[in-house]
């Protein structure tokens, strides 16, 4: 179902599922330097290997419930690669691909999934917010941060990442509405992977696409092949340009698919057909497709591939070690960041905790 709709309405598509370039794609390809071309590949690979490793760590009980992204690498890496350090990013729980591209160390990402907030502290100057767990609630934040940028006369834009399910929440609407009314430099980046846990997009929305919803807010909505890293990157570049030029918000719908479960606690076999999943995993895989392109363009050899994968594994190994070696914060840590200056009753509660013979 999803695939057909998708092919009919895709706005941007540069790299075909078989890894060949469309004519438009060829033009875009020429404008991109080789380093960036390689980084697309490298980060997508890193994201995938990190993701697979995380699932294993979860099975081993070394991290908690985990939300895998496999299949969505192009959407995440392509969009994140278009951003600058000055931009504000508001991700969800599924954006470790975005996080790592933007400079979030792998060990910190892992600490988050270990339930350890003390490990979560974005590196200095990174304008990357923690994952928003309640769906769609980060969209108004992005609009607000964009607004601040506009009021302060800064160049920065803000991006909210979210899924197809998020479009049903009131906050999606209220954020888009503010963005439209105040022409804010914000990008609403939706990874439409066809499902919100088990609920298919057709039960989420009467419109067949997310992109067309932008019409209600008088700004452009664009639907791209979310498994085509080049198309995603280009869509994002254009949206950022619009935003920086004061032309206001853009809604981007990246059509994609998660190969695996919603989280490690989920069983997709309950609600998705095997054929559907097979089609996406085998024929539309974003990484395979891009690797094929690089190969045919002579930018990547099998040896280089293997080498990079090895490097990824080494880095991930190191990150796991670092995360696991990270000294656990003492439980009293929970009292430390509620307010800038601790209030008396909380200090009393803290002493009470300590007095319980535990400190």
């Amino acid at each position: 179902m999803l695939q057909q709709v998708e092919e009919k309405r895709i706005g941007l598509s540069y790299v075909r599922p078989d890894g060949t370039l469309t004519d438009e794609g060829r033009a875009v390809w020429r404008r991109i330097d080789d380093e960036k071309k390689m980084l697309f590949y490298r980060w997508m690979t890193m994201a995938r290997l990190f993701d697979r490793r995380s699932i294993i760590l979860q099975r081993q009980g070394r991290i908690g419930t985990f939300a895998p992204l496999e299949g969505q690498e192009a959407a995440q890496v392509g969009s994140a690669m278009a951003l600058s350090k000055e931009d504000w990013i508001f991700p969800t729980y599924r954006e470790h691909g975005v996080q790592m591209v933007l400079g979030m160390p792998l060990n910190l990402i892992l600490l988050y999934w270990m339930g350890r907030v003390e490990g979560w502290r974005p590196p200095e100057l990174l304008r990357l917010l923690p994952p928003s767990v309640p769906i769609a609630t980060q969209l108004p934040h992005a609009a607000g941060a964009a607004w601040a940028s506009k009021l302060r006369g800064e160049r920065s834009v803000a991006v909210a990442y979210f899924g197809d399910g998020a479009t049903s929440e009131g906050d999606f609407h209220e954020a888009c509405n503010f963005a439209g009314v105040f022409r804010l430099p914000v990008i609403f980046f939706c990874q439409n992977n066809g499902y919100a846990i088990s609920v298919p997009f057709s039960r989420q929305s009467a419109t067949p696409t997310v992109a067309e919803k932008a019409a209600a807010y008088a700004f452009p909505g664009i639907r791209v092949d979310g498994n085509d890293v080049l198309a995603v990157y280009e869509a994002m570049v254009r949206a950022i340009e619009r935003a920086r030029n004061g032309e206001g918000p853009t809604l981007i719908e990246a059509v994609t698919y998660r190969h695996g479960a919603h989280t490690t606690a989920d069983d997709p076999a309950r609600y998705r057909s095997e054929e559907e999943a097979r089609e996406w995993v085998q024929r539309r895989d974003p990484l395979k497709r891009y690797r094929a392109l690089l190969r045919s363009e002579g930018l990547l050899t099998e040896a280089e591939e293997r080498e990079w994968e090895e490097e990824c594994r080494r880095r991930i190994d190191r990150a796991v070690k670092e995360a696991e070696a990270e000294k656990a914060a003492p439980p009293t840590h929970m009292f430390d960041h509620v307010f800038a200056t601790p209030v008396a009753s909380l200090q009393r509660q803290r002493r009470e905790w300590e007095g319980d013979g535990r400190a």
Binding site: V117, P134, S198, V199, A265, P331, M334, L346, Q349, D356
Partner: protein
Amino acid sequence: MPERTMVQAINDALSVALEKDPRVVVMGEDVGKNGGVFRVTEGLWHRFGDDRVIDTPLSESGIIGTAIGLAVGGMLPVAEIQFMGFIYPAFEQVVSHAARFRTRTQGTFPLPLVIRAPYGGGIRAPELHSDSTEALFVHTPGLKVVAPSTPYDAKGLLLASIQDPDPVIFLEPMKVYRTHRQEVPEGWYEVPIGRARKVREGEDVTILAWGAMVPVAEKTADAWAKDGVSCEVIDLRSLYPIDEDAIIESVKKTGRAVIVHEAPRTGGLGGELTALINERAFLWLEAPVTRVTGYDVPVPYFALEDAFRPDVRRVSEAVRQVINF
């Protein structure tokens, strides 16, 4: 009688209700084909179909708002909010409408609506999945609020809630969803809303708890029993209305009360219960009513949640305090 976990008991209650009354609809995110993220609604969609067990958009205000309209239109909606921590987007619909429809229309448009939500911590869930904000709803006149701690009570209270002509917030302690099995009768039976359950008779101190704190209270009572201190454990079950008489009677007997809840202390139900005891059993009190609660901090990420949630150690310490006062 079959032995059931709480998940199974709730599933059974829903199935019995769907069967008995064609007006009952079960609705929420992932409750249909997927059978719920905790499998609470497992099998219901296959059995009762898409018009009775409804996968909704990801839209809590829409779920509760349309459920209110469904109830007005003659249905008996049982709406699931996937985790209590995600009920806030629907807060407006709950407090401004669900709670006020009967009063506003003087009974012309009552609102038979059940809102189910898994709640509380202890299962190492992500942020916001472990909230325990029952006090917000207890402070909202027009709502009833229940929180069973056993499979038997879960089924009976859920059926009573569905039967109730007024809106009921039905809280399901995730931590005990599957921890123990209990004999649960087949078919329809009700556990009345508003009645506490005396879990254990005791003479020296009353421990008040609900949800996942009940087993903690029980274990504390076990521990103290070895030292010759006898704790009376009361499972409130119903948080609004509160079974004041049961509480007051017990505290008049023991002269001492320890209240246990997961929610942060300030503004939690512990204060309300303390006030009730203070108002109705003042002269019987031999020690200050003592609260063992979550702290006044956002529920910490799960690596620290054990430090946040009351445990046997903390409850025991409180018992020691009131005994030695």
